[in-house]
């Protein structure tokens, strides 16, 4: 499943319109009830050079952070006590300003095809099963942020 680690990093490739700094300045909200997983993602992203990271193990607080800090990307776990990922996905959709684009990447240990479909149907932009290949996840995050930046630029054009 995981073959030899490729020596590829999203930051290594030159980008024409979007610079590495553009990506690294984005605000990312990490939500997982497992401390270890939050830490893993935080470590991975910090290693990639991201600095504006909001980490939450409590879904309620995470929702507050989403509303308050308007992150550019959300990394979301599905199975959580009290408020699960699906409920948060719905809440995010309601709390997103019209015209705003705040992609959600779902990371879950639930391999059920139903979970995948449901999350995507509720507005998740991508879906990765745990355990994941950290390189792949880093690449998907970068891709989503690129789209997000392009969208924002498109919307802010006169």
């Amino acid at each position: 499943m995981f073959e030899a680690p490729p020596e590829v990093s999203p930051m290594n490739e030159p980008r024409d319109i979007i610079t590495a700094d553009d990506l690294r300045s984005r605000r990312i909200l990490i939500i997982d009830d497992e401390e270890a997983n939050v830490l893993l993602l935080k470590t991975l992203l910090e290693r990639e050079g991201y600095s504006d990271l909001l980490c939450h193990t409590n879904p309620g607080e995470a929702l507050e952070a989403f509303v308050q800090h308007e992150p550019h990307l959300v990394l979301l776990d599905l199975m959580m006590p009290d408020i699960d990922g699906y409920q948060l996905l719905e809440a995010f959709r309601r709390q997103t300003r019209p015209g705003a684009f705040r992609p959600v990447l779902v990371l879950t240990a639930d391999t059920n095809i139903g979970a995948r479909r449901r999350a995507l149907a509720l507005g998740a932009k991508d879906f990765v099963s745990k355990p994941f290949d950290i390189v792949e996840v880093a690449l998907r995050i970068a891709n989503l942020l690129e789209t997000q930046i392009l969208y924002e630029r498109l919307m802010s054009r006169p």
Binding site: M1, F2, P5, E34, A36, N37, L39, L40, T43, L44, R47, M79, T108, A109, D110, T111, N112, I113, S129, K130, P131, F132, D133, I134, V135
Partner: protein, 652 residues
């Protein structure tokens, strides 16, 4: 009854009554009409005969008178003729002779008439004397006349004349005497005839009176006979017909042979037949009733059109608790519990009378108020005219079945819940195992990415963490897969898949499998599509498992070959190699979980030991089969194969 009693004193002797009664009605009618008529005719003819006899007697009287008159006339004629002759003798004048000539002219006719008229023998004898005396007288007179004409006035002549005269006178006296005698005889005869006429008249009058009396009596007798012979019997017959209609036994009637009698006999037979049929019907009903009443397992009872209980059997008593005498006439809605009583009974009767029968299943009440689950069939009963006569209701106590159904349902629900719980548990287990694995593998990967900063021994450690972690993850995946298939919770689709296309698409993955080995991989596929029913992802999984096994274990061989064929209703994939094959003793253990036939210690061999076990379960859950055989001809080698059901329209 009263009529018979009234009639009894008037009964005729038995034999006579019987003989009369046996006559056909036509004869009886004829007798009744003819009897007075015959009496009338008899009376009339006796009257006629009386008048005839009277007329005859009167004729006889008239004849007697005529004879008397003629006798007098003969005497008168002779007397006048004698005086005339005497006158002539004295005077010799011719004119005194006129009476004599008249007598000579008339006497023969009168005498002839008398001769014809006289019938009485005595009178006839006298008459014959008269005839002789008359002849002598006439001869005497004619002799006198001759003497007178021949003699003169001589004395002798005178004396001769006187002598002749005296002789004549004597004849005339004799004649007179004879005539007187006849007269006397005839008068006596007349008297006797008159007496006879009276006698005959009296006789016939008496006869007429008797006839009238007999006629009257005959008519009365006819009326009586008519009454006894017909009217009374018809009345009795009518009374019997009424008894027949009422179903009462018939009064026995004499078995007369006329129409009424035969009618009575037929009525008797009809009554007997009716009784026999009634008996048969009663017997049949009795048997039927006994059968119905004896049935214990079914409550069978009848309702009138309004729903009141009209019959009740042992089964109904057993099931519902009411005895027949307690429940007869009660409305059947009381068998229904409160919540359905107001509408359900009526609805069932309406449905039954509309479509003939209605079935229902639901709670009913026993007498003690306990509920039982009943299966009820209500059948509407119609008579021949199509009018609703009532309902037959068959009730079965289904409480036990209901309970067992309930138990079965609960068990099934529990099983489903258990299965769901198991699936849920497996899903949770998967999640719970994967979550820490995610952190372990993730952080190991982070370290691996930063290996330049690490010492060699740390790099080896990280490599081992990753390797063992991934193996553990595979184990977890396969184990959960098998478990979820066994729990019935695995997601296995049943779509139509072209197997040829699927194998071609897997070719690239297969190439990656065989790339690190020295084996050649050959594929032999049919040109046309082979459509099977199955799950694309699962078939792929099985295929890659078998191919990777071939790659792993065929270290001595040169080639791995895949073929796809169609046989009957199935498609068959075979993967064969030219390796050493598998010891026949080990073959039965091939598809057992974790049994790696002792090969796990072979250096460099990876795997969970679950691949074939999982493949077997996957193929079987798709309705196929999986198996293995060793190849001996032309070369040695192992053959793994599996089959899948063809899609319906792909069948040849």
């Amino acid at each position: 009854m009263s009529l018979t009693a009234w009639m009894r004193p008037l009964r005729l002797p038995f034999a006579m009554t019987r003989a009369w009664a046996n006559q056909p009605l036509a004869i009886k009618g004829l007798v009744v009409v003819a009897l007075p008529l015959a009496v009338l005719i008899g009376a009339l003819s006796s009257l006629y005969l009386a008048s005839q006899a009277e007329a005859q007697a009167e004729d006889d009287v008239r004849l007697a008178f005529a004879i008397q008159r003629d006798i007098y006339q003969v005497h008168a004629l002779l007397a006048e003729a004698a005086s005339g002759v005497r006158g002539y003798l004295l005077t010799e004048q011719e004119r005194f002779l006129t009476p004599y000539y008249k007598a000579e002219a008339e006497l023969p006719n009168t005498l002839t008439r008398l001769d014809e008229s006289i019938v009485d023998a005595e009178v006839r004898a006298r008459f014959n004397k008269v005839m002789a005396l008359t002849g002598r007288k006439r001869d005497g007179l004619s002799g006198l006349l001759e003497i007178a004409d021949a003699a003169g006035s001589s004395a002798e002549d005178q004396r001769a004349i006187i002598a002749a005269l005296e002789a004549n006178k004597l004849v005339l006296d004799d004649l007179r005497t004879e005539i007187d005698q006849i007269q006397v005889l005839e008068t006596a005869l007349l008297e006797s005839r008159r007496a006879r006429v009276d006698e005959v008249r009296q006789g016939y009058l008496a006869l007429t009176a008797i006839s009238a009396a007999v006629g009257l009596l005959g008519s009365l007798a006819a009326v009586y006979l008519f009454s006894t012979g017909i009217v009374r019997r018809v009345q009795m017959l009518e009374a019997n017909a009424e008894r027949l209609a009422q179903g009462e036994p018939l009064e026995p009637l004499p078995e007369d042979r006329d129409e009424v009698g035969r009618l009575a006999i037929r009525l008797e037979r009809a009554s007997a037949l009716l009784r026999a049929r009634e008996q048969a019907l009663r017997d049949g009903e009795e048997r039927f009733r006994l059968v119905v009443e004896g049935v214990q397992d079914y409550g069978i009872f009848a309702l009138d059109p309004q729903g009141h209980v009209a019959s009740w059997n042992a089964g109904a008593e057993r099931i519902k608790g009411w005895r027949a005498e307690e429940v007869m006439g009660e409305h059947f809605s009381q068998f229904y519990p409160e919540e359905t009583r107001s509408f359900l009974p009526q609805a069932i009767l309406e449905r039954a009378s509309l479509v003939g029968a209605a079935e229902d299943e639901g709670w009913r009440l026993r007498k003690d108020g306990a509920r039982f689950w009943a299966n009820v069939v209500v059948t509407a009963l119609f008579n021949e005219a199509g009018e609703l006569r009532g309902f037959a209701k068959v009730t079965r106590d289904m409480t036990e079945r209901k309970r067992s159904e309930e138990a079965l349902r609960v068990a099934r629900e529990e099983a489903i819940a258990a299965s769901l719980a198991k699936s849920e548990f497996l899903s949770r287990t998967s999640h719970e195992l994967r979550t820490p694995m995610s952190a372990i593998l993730g952080f190991a990967q982070v370290l691996e990415l930063d290996q330049g900063d690490l010492a060699e021994r740390h790099r080896i450690a990280i490599d081992q963490i990753l390797k063992s972690g991934r193996h553990l993850l595979s184990l977890i995946d396969d184990l959960l897969d098998i478990s979820s298939i066994e729990a019935g919770g695995a997601e296995i689709n049943g779509e139509e898949i072209n197997l040829v296309e699927l194998v071609r698409e897997a070719d690239q993955l297969a190439a990656a499998i065989f790339a690190p080995t020295a084996l050649a991989f050959e594929v032999d596929l049919p040109d046309e599509a082979v459509n099977v029913i199955g799950d694309r992802r699962r078939i792929n999984q099985v295929l890659l498992n078998i191919l990777s096994n071939a790659a792993k274990y065929n270290r001595e061989g040169k080639i791995v070959r895949l073929t796809c064929t169609v046989a009957g209703p199935t498609a068959r994939i075979e993967v064969m190699d030219d390796g050493p094959g598998i010891a026949q003793a080990d073959v039965p253990r091939l598809f057992t979980p974790f049994d790696r036939l002792g090969l796990q210690r072979v250096k460099g061999l990876e795997g969970t030991g679950l691949g074939l076990a999982l493949s077997k379960r996957l193929i079987e859950s798709m309705g196929g089969e999986i198996g293995f055989r060793n190849r001996t001809v032309p070369d040695r080698g192992a053959v793994f194969w599996f089959t899948l059901p063809l899609a319906p329209r792909s069948h040849v």
